[in-house]
């Protein structure tokens, strides 16, 4: 957990409320264990005490460049944490496909701009198993070309993951566009495509492919400013990129929840209102 994240509004409020009530007692006290770690403890030990529910796994691969924007996911997580009730981590964990920890992270993120080495058959089988049994993969293409660079390798990887299920554009009624925000446009650092693509397995879409470089829109410089300018739409395009991040995270964690019948009338009414 980053220091910024630790001192977020929610954590401060929680701490204050706990202190005011005078009842911030931890359960291990009842079992004779020592008290909690202090806020000044290291980032590692804090994440062990309260491992948050949403810890994306950022896939590291061979060839190309697996991490174009080191700050992209922490920035995205911060926004998801501020806008929703999801309990988020301060940053993603870096994983390889052969990593035993791969299955600790149901949400995986694969990004880059350049071609990369297609993983071994064994690793592809692991990733396929991960996604078939409830996992989710967001593929973020920083270049956005169909048959060049990262997109070319990523599409080949997806084809080998799911040879029978093609990568197809998601319809506007897909749950990913309604899981939180009622999304009308696909944001990102660039605006190559206004469609998301996905692989459908049964009623769930375990792979979502974006060509607009979401990571570029999320990333921040060390001084807090945005790392990249969003073109051509400027800040509204960045705002759309964060809204999409929230929706994708919620879709991964709730599936087609927003397509349950109970939500239909209200969502439809709001869509009709524009």
């Amino acid at each position: 957990m980053s220091p910024d994240r630790y001192w977020s509004r929610r954590n401060v409020l929680q701490g204050a409320a706990g202190l005011a009530a005078g009842a911030f007692a931890f359960p291990w006290a009842a079992f004779g264990q020592s008290g909690p770690e202090t806020p000044s403890d290291s980032e590692e030990s804090q994440s062990e005490i309260f491992p948050p529910g949403f810890v994306p796994g950022h896939i590291r691969y061979r060839g190309g460049r697996w991490q174009e924007y080191p700050s992209a996911l922490s920035s995205m997580l911060e926004e998801v944490g501020n806008r929703t009730s999801i309990d988020v981590a301060g940053d993603a964990r870096v994983v390889t496909l052969s990593d035993p920890a791969l299955f600790d992270h149901p949400f995986l993120y694969l990004s880059g701009r350049y071609e990369f080495e297609i993983p071994s058959n064994k690793d592809i089988e692991r990733l396929q198993r991960h996604l078939t049994y409830g996992g989710f993969l967001l593929v973020d293409d920083g270049l956005g070309f169909l048959n060049e660079g990262f997109g070319r390798s990523a599409r080949e990887l997806i084809r080998r993951l799911f040879p029978r299920e093609p990568l197809e554009p998601l319809s506007s009624g897909h749950a990913v566009f309604r899981s939180y925000y009622l999304i009308g446009s696909i944001g990102g650092r660039q605006s190559i495509s206004q469609a998301l693509e996905g692989v459908q397995l049964g009623k769930f879409t375990p792979v979502v492919f974006c060509r607009n470089d979401l990571g570029g829109a999320w990333a921040k410089r060390p001084d807090g400013g945005w790392a990249e300018e969003c073109r051509p739409g400027g800040e509204p395009q960045r705002k759309a990129a964060f809204q999409l991040a929230v929706n994708i995270a919620l879709y991964a964690m709730t599936g087609n929840y927003k397509q349950d019948l109970i939500h239909h009338p209200i969502i439809q009414r709001r869509l009709n209102q524009g």
């Binding site: 509004r9 009842a30 009730s85």
Partner: protein
Amino acid sequence: MDWNTIHWPAGAPAWLIILLAVVFADSLRRRIPFIRERVSGGRAAILLSLRALLYVVILFFLSGPTILEEKNRALPPRVLVLVDTSASMSVKDESQNRSRLESAMGILLKRSDSVEVPGSAEGGGLLQRLSESYDVRVAGFDTVSNPLRQEDMMNLEAAGPGSDSLRAIRLGVAGNDGGAGEPGENKQDRPAAILLLSDGGDTAGSSWPPEDVGRMPPVLTLGFGSSRRFRDISLHDVRAPRLAFEGKEVQLEVTLLVHGFVGKKLPIALTRDGRVVSTQTVDVRRDSSGKKVRFRFTPRDVGSQVLAVETPVQRGELVESNNRVEIPLEVRRNKIRILTISGAPTWNYRFLRMALKRDPSIDLVSFVFLRTSEDDPGVPTRQLSLVPFPVDTLFLEELKNFDIVIFDNFAANQYFSNYYLQRVNDYIRGGGGFLILGGKNSFSSGGYVLSPLERVLPVRLLRKDDFSARVRMTGKLTTAGSRHPIMRLSSDPRSNERLWSGFPALRQGNLTVAGEEGAVLLSSQAEGEFNGAPLIAVRRIGEGRVLSILTDDMWRWNYGMVADEKTNRLYLRLVAQMIRWLSGDPATSQVQILPEAVPGKDGSYVIRMQVRDVKFEPAAGARVRLSLRDPYGGLHQMPAVYRPETGEFEARFRPRGKGSYRAEVIALMGEKPLGHSIRTVAVGGEAGGAEWADVRPHWERLRVLSKKTGGVFLPAGEGEDKKRVFGDRVLEVLKGKVPPVLVEVRDVRLWSIPWVAFILILLPAGEWTLRRLWGLA
């Protein structure tokens, strides 16, 4: 010896023959100058020709020339006699009110009471007369065949549950007339002819004639039964679902077959447990034509039940048992309606939802709090898909319509008052299922201390935050857990324990202590300083059930298994069993009736019951009352006795007949009910059955079988040719079909014939003699 039959079934390999031919040719080529130097041209030609001829003869014999040799043998041909002993042969439609089997045995054995039997006119029975000319083997058959000895035949009964004469013939042809062992093609044991005594019944659904009829020897068929005297009404060929849903109409269809009652109006009734549900009348206009009778039925009670379609027995009917056909029906809840309320989106919710959505019988309504008042989406509400939480509708109106309510890491007191939680408490006591999952918004950390829900939980809450992310939770099955239907991932206890110990450790959860009255700990923390803290616990409250899982990290059981075992089947099974128990599925009840009634020595039957206490241990001190409704509507009450050696209760009764009995058991411990169970129990197999569905004589099958195999069909019962003695006729026909002497045909290797072999010796001997005479060494 017929040289036209020469053939080459087997010989030396071709490569060897070619190799030898090359060697021989080379040997001959080298020999030519040697011989010509020493003897005159004529003599050389003779010697070389003799050697060449020897080589050719050797090569010829190596190729394995064989001729066919026929020999007449004086052994009597084998005749297999097959007697149909299926239940339909007990129908008494033969003359003098005798059964079909009695008539058949009369012909075979010449019984003293079989005066009218045609075969008896000449001395001994047909079997004895056959034995004078043939090697006779006798077998009885129904769905299986067994060899019959003379003493067996004296007391033969027609009671077989089905008829499969073609199987018996095939076994006989394969040289296995019913003895032990697998049938195999054995030419020596193959019968030269088969004598089949049957009414033509077939419950195997074979085609007549069968496809392999060409491989059968002549089959002489003797047809029993009388189409003229046969009168019967049968109900059979049930078409009905095995599984039905509460309140959903099902259609039941049976076939009515009537012989000899043209013009009658037959009442047909659908009954349930002996009580008439609906009736209809069928006007019989034509004989022997099947009519479909359809009923519609809407089950109202969950559980197993027996329906029956029946019609009264008419005067003169030959078979009574096929006037009733039973239809077992397993009725389940239409849908299990589940309400889940989650405090936040979590992986626990994601994987639980995935498991629940897989089951088509589950109707899931879920609410996930996607934001709290502290979260700022940054846009107006109209740009969000969020819906308001309908607390009043859910907790004041709709709660009763759910079978199960799940609180998933949900801090209820943040959203509504204890008044609503009291409604949940009432819902549970009234028979609802309640699952509470852990997390930092659950149990003590979720504010449930002193709430109306605390009183129903199977764990005791600490008066402080109980959520911890510093634990390593490895669930260990408790003794009660190893027996509980929720936790039984394998029917084998050791295997079950191994499966549970293989689950990945969880990393966070709520630390509580085990509950008291009525609470049952199924799995507890197995290591470390929190050893013994509950992980999974259950409790029965009033009519309802409560399940507590003290973690929000259970999704790791799904994914951990996927990583290790490549499947998540155990997680899915666990969730399915949790839902079954929470919904009050009868299969998870503490009281179970075993499906088969066991026959006792004195004609009585024993029904066995498993009665367990809340820890699923045998409840030896329970009071168990069993009521039994027989297939004819009679109700019998009887006590059940505990058997310590088996840990089961037993009730003994004397049945009124075969069929399905509806058993209902109620068990009490003191005044407290342990549960009850209703089940259909089979006694002595199914009443009626396929054999009784259609017991008409089917001579057309026998006729076509005989015709296609080159045999003859003789109607034994009708005695169509009164002037000729029946036994004579059979023997005459058999003699025409099966010659008394068998011709044995065998392969004879050419070189094994002595004079042929002599040539082989003669050629080198001749050559050697001439060489000596002409001065060659």
